[in-house]
């Protein structure tokens, strides 16, 4: 794929920016998008949550979602005291088997550098403000180890089915740039 792209770009047949634009349209359609179901199960099933936090790779595999790339997945839990934020400062390592295609901002240099220097500011850029008492921990992905944030379960969702809970889990909440929330329009 890269070889073909290089040849066509250098001959002017395709514009890499135009390709990115098309791919971006599908960023939520790539990969099995299983992360939300993993989180919903962890909220509903304390034993599963314990397994997920102990060994993310194995617990995700229980739901038969593959870690085909062979990287390990570590799940980090948000609490009222601690908020987790995931970044890859070197490149754009991303657990796409559970989260789909990385959003364009995740790969951008400003996000990668600011997330480390000023994580609270980055989260604020996404419209999320955390209490000053909540500490923020930044996790830097590598090719071998990827992170998935287990967001806090929204209030008012007691007794909800896993399926309904999964709708509360946004992609950003699993990166740490957002919070899980009850969908505004319940259809």
């Amino acid at each position: 794929m890269r070889a073909l792209e290089t040849v066509l770009v250098e001959k002017g047949y395709v514009d890499p920016a135009a390709l990115d634009l098309i791919v971006e349209t599908y960023e939520t359609k790539i990969g099995p998008r299983n992360g939300a179901r993993v989180i919903a199960k962890a909220w509903s099933d304390p034993a599963y949550k314990a397994r997920l936090l102990a060994d993310g790779t194995a617990a995700v595999a229980e739901l038969s979602y593959g870690g085909r790339q062979g990287e390990h997945l570590k799940v980090v839990e948000n609490t009222p005291e601690l908020h987790n934020l995931v970044v890859c400062t070197l490149c754009s390592c991303y657990p796409w088997t559970v989260l789909g295609l990385p959003p364009v901002w995740y790969k951008s240099a400003p996000y990668r550098s600011k997330a480390v220097l000023d994580p609270r500011g980055v989260i604020g850029d996404f419209g999320v403000s955390l209490p000053a008492s909540t500490k923020i921990r930044v996790w830097d992905s590598t090719a071998e180890l990827r992170y998935l944030v287990l967001p806090m379960r929204p209030e008012g969702t007691e007794g909800w089915s896993e399926e309904r809970l999964a709708d509360c889990v946004t992609r950003d909440s699993m990166i740490g740039t957002g919070l899980a929330r009850i969908p505004e329009v319940a259809s």
Binding site: M1, L4, T6, L8, C91
Partner: protein, 128 residues
């Protein structure tokens, strides 16, 4: 009709959900985007594309491909390369050269760093 709808109408085997194409891996979306973009530039028509892709899938099946959908975009990429050569946009030699260069660059790049052609140890100083 949008470009995507036109592609879907001409090439109905594209894996889709209720709202459009779905991809198993990021590179599949890149391959899809490449075909859309080359079509928009007028390199081929969708009926030419459907013909090339189905020929590719048929020959893979004849060679024992299980055709469970997992290899769909591998065929898509092979068809793209054939089309690009057939339309004179590149040559098989140039494609092979570039594939080898990416391959060498990938091997020479430490884990966790972005791979680029600059990492190809045999890359010539003139950039070619």
């Amino acid at each position: 009709m949008t470009a995507v709808a036109a592609a879907l109408a001409a090439v109905p085997a594209i894996p889709c959900d209720a709202t459009g194409p779905v991809f198993r891996e990021p590179w599949e979306a890149q391959a899809f985007a490449m075909a859309l973009s080359l079509h928009e530039r007028g390199l081929f028509t969708w009926s030419e594309w459907a013909e090339t892709l189905s020929a590719e899938i048929k020959s893979a099946q004849a060679a024992g491909d299980p055709d469970t959908g997992e290899t769909y975009y591998a065929h898509w990429l092979a068809a793209l390369e054939k089309m690009v050569v057939a339309k004179g946009a590149s040559t098989p030699e140039r494609l092979r050269e570039m594939r080898d260069a990416w391959d060498r660059a990938a091997r020479a790049t430490p884990h966790g760093e972005p791979i680029s052609l600059a990492g190809d140890p045999e890359r010539r100083a003139d950039g070619n």
